[in-house]
Subunit: 338 residues, 2 copies
C-alpha cells in the first residue's frame, strides 16, 4: 500500500493538495529548516497552496533574518486541518519533530492526513504512505529543488535562498563527498532564480560570535588530542568550557570542522555531555574508513563520512576509551589477528 | 595590432601551436598554478601539443601531490624554443613570473614568441599580442575550462582536478561573490570528467599543519582587534609569532578567513612585515563597502571584495593608523562633512 514515488510523481502529489503541513527532524539543521521553509515559500508563494512549517526549536540566531514564519506549537487535533504531511530530511520515525501530544512513531501511518516522506539519507525507514528517498542527493533541499523544477511554478528568490542554504550547509560549501556534478547544476538553477549567495554565506560562515571564536580557540589549544599514529583527532568539550564562553552546541555545527582541518588525520570525533548522556559526532576524511557502521555498532546512525552517537551510563573517560578502541579497530582492522 | 579574442578564438589559437610556454603570476596561488598546470595537462596530455609551465616558486607543500612537473628555471635564450607564451591569471606586467634575465615589462610585446594573455581580473592591463580577459569568470581555471570545452579534445582527470583546485581556491569553496551559476555549471563539467573533489578538498581545507593551527589560535587570542564600531576587524602578525610556530605566510592564504568569520564585521585586514615592507591583505564582507579602490589609493590592487597593498617606509604602528583612517573613511564617508 505504501509507495515509492519518482520526483515527478511527488511534485504532482503536492500540487494536488490544498493544505500541507511540513515537518522535519528534531534539532533542525540548515538543510532541515532550509528545505522545509523553502518548500513553504515555494508551495505557498509560487503555487498558491496553503502550507505551514512546524519547527520544534528556533534555528541558530545567525539564520533568523533569512527564514520566514513557522509554527512553534502543533497539537494532535490540528492535524486534521491538513490534507498532507510533507516530511523533509528525516531518516527515522523517532526523529520526526512534532507536537508533544503527537506520537511520532505512528504519524507516518496516519490516513488523515497521509504523509509524503522526502529524504536523502541512505536507509531511511520512515515508510510513510508515499516515499521519495534519493540518496544521490546531497541534501533534502536539493530534492526539494528538483521537485520544484519539474513543475510549471517559478521558484521565487526566497525559496531559492533557503534551498541554497540547505545545500550549502549539508555539503560544507560543496566540499563534502556528497557534492556531485548534479548538486552543482541544481544549485546553479537556484542562483539563476535569485538565491542570495552573499546572505547565505555571511549567515553560515561569516557570522561567528566572538564568544564562539574564543571558545574554539581554547578548545584547540587545551582539549584537542591526537591518537592512533596521529590518524585520529578528537576533543572532549568539558562543561566548564561551555559555561566560560556562554556557548551552546546548538550553534556548534561547525566546531568539528576545526579538528577535521588538521593535516594527515583520517577520523575526527568531538564529544560532550548533554544532561545524562554524551553526544558524539564522528567524521571520516577518507572514504576507505567510513564511520557510519562504527556509529551504528554503538546505537548511533548517519552516513559513511559523518555520523553521530548518543552514549549513556558512562563517564567521559569511558567514552574516550571506547572511541579510541573503536577507531583503532577501524583504522587497523587486523591488529588483533596475530 | 593587439587583439581581444573570444574563448573560441583563443582555443583555435592554442590548438594551432606546436610548443607552448605557460606562465603565471609571482607567488602563484591555487588558481595560478592550477590553471597553468591544468592547461599543460590538457594541451600536452589531451591535445598532443608540447607545453611546459614555469613556476618561480613551489606551491605550498599540501598541494605537491596534486601537481605535475614544471620548469623551475627559465632563461631569455630558451624563449625561442616556443611558438607561443600563454600567460594565465596575471593582471599586470610587473607580476609576470619569468626568469631573472627576462624583462617582464616587455615580455608581452615579444614577436617571437608572441603572448596570449588569459585572465579574469578587472582592469588587466598586460596588453599582449592576444588578450582574453573575462571578468565574469571566478578564476583563470574557469576560463581555461571554458576554452577546453570548446575544443574536440577531451579534458582528462588530471587537468580537471587542477582546474577544480583553481576554481575552488579562488571562490573560497564557492562562497565568494565571484561564484555565479556559470561557475557551478563549469565546475560540474569538471566533476563529470573525473576531477577528484576529495583530494582537492583534503589538500586545500583539511591539510592544515598543527603548527599553523596553533599559530592561528594564538593570533586570534592575542592579536585580533575590532575597531570602527566593531565593523573593522584586523590583526598585525608580529615576526615573533612566525618564528615561534615556524610558520610562513606562503602557506597562509587562509589565515585572513579566520578574521572574516567574525559576526557583524564588514572590513577585514591582516598585515605583517616582509623584509623592508608591510604586506596588507584586505577583504570586504559587504559589496556596499568595496576594498579595491582603498587598496589602489595606497598603491595596491585587486578586486572589490579582496585586495592587497605593499607599504614601505612605515612602522607597524603607522600602518595600523593608516588602515584605521582609510577604513573609517570607507565605512563612514560623511564623517568629516559636518
Amino acid at each position: 500500500m505504501n509507495e515509492a514515488l519518482s520526483i515527478t510523481e511527488a511534485a504532482a502529489l503536492l500540487l494536488g493538495k490544498k493544505r500541507i503541513l511540513i515537518l522535519t527532524h528534531e534539532r533542525p539543521d540548515g538543510d532541515a529548516f532550509g528545505s522545509a521553509l523553502g518548500m513553504k515559500e515555494f508551495l505557498h508563494g509560487c503555487c498558491g497552496i496553503h502550507s505551514e512549517v512546524f519547527l520544534p526549536s528556533a534555528p541558530a540566531a545567525r539564520y533568523l533574518e533569512l527564514i520566514g514564519e513557522y509554527k512553534t506549537t502543533l497539537t494532535q487535533s490540528e492535524l486534521s486541518n491538513y490534507d498532507l504531511i510533507l516530511l523533509l530530511d528525516c531518516a527515522t520515525r523517532d526523529r520526526i519533530a512534532c507536537g508533544q501530544d503527537i506520537d511520532s512513531a505512528t504519524l507516518p501511518e496516519l490516513k488523515c492526513p497521509p504523509m509524503l516522506n522526502v529524504d536523502h539519507h541512505v536507509g531511511n525507514d520512515v515508510n510513510a504512505r508515499w516515499n521519495l528517498v534519493v540518496p544521490r542527493a546531497a541534501a533534502a533541499s536539493q530534492i526539494a529543488t528538483e521537485i520544484a523544477l519539474t513543475t510549471q511554478c517559478q521558484i521565487n528568490a526566497r525559496a531559492a535562498t533557503l534551498w541554497l542554504l540547505g545545500i550549502m550547509t549539508d555539503t560544507g560549501a560543496f566540499r563534502f563527498a556528497n557534492t556531485l556534478s548534479n548538486t552543482l547544476r541544481i544549485t546553479a538553477e537556484l542562483l539563476d532564480r535569485g538565491a542570495e549567495l552573499e546572505r547565505v554565506v555571511n549567515a553560515t560562515y561569516y557570522s561567528k560570535p566572538l564568544n564562539q571564536q574564543q571558545f574554539e580557540v581554547e578548545l584547540l589549544q587545551k582539549h584537542q588530542k591526537l591518537a592512533v599514529d596521529n590518524q585520529f583527532i578528537y576533543a572532549y568539550i568539558p562543561n566548564e568550557l561551555f559555561t566560560k564562553y556562554k556557548f551552546d552546541m546548538r550553534d556548534g555545527e561547525g566546531v568539528i570542522e576545526l579538528l577535521r582541518e588538521v593535516a594527515d588525520t583520517k577520523i575526527v570525533a568531538l564529544f560532550y555531555r548533554k544532561g545524562d548522556v554524551f553526544k558524539v559526532s564522528l567524521r571520516s576524511k577518507d572514504s576507505a574508513y567510513p564511520v557510519g557502521d562504527l556509529a551504528r555498532s554503538l546505537g548511533g546512525g548517519g552516513h559513511d563520512m559523518a555520523s553521530g552517537i548518543t552514549l549513556s551510563n558512562m563517564d567521559s573517560k569511558e567514552v574516550e576509551t571506547l572511541l579510541l578502541q573503536k577507531v583503532t579497530e577501524l583504522l587497523h582492522p587486523n591488529i588483533n589477528e596475530d
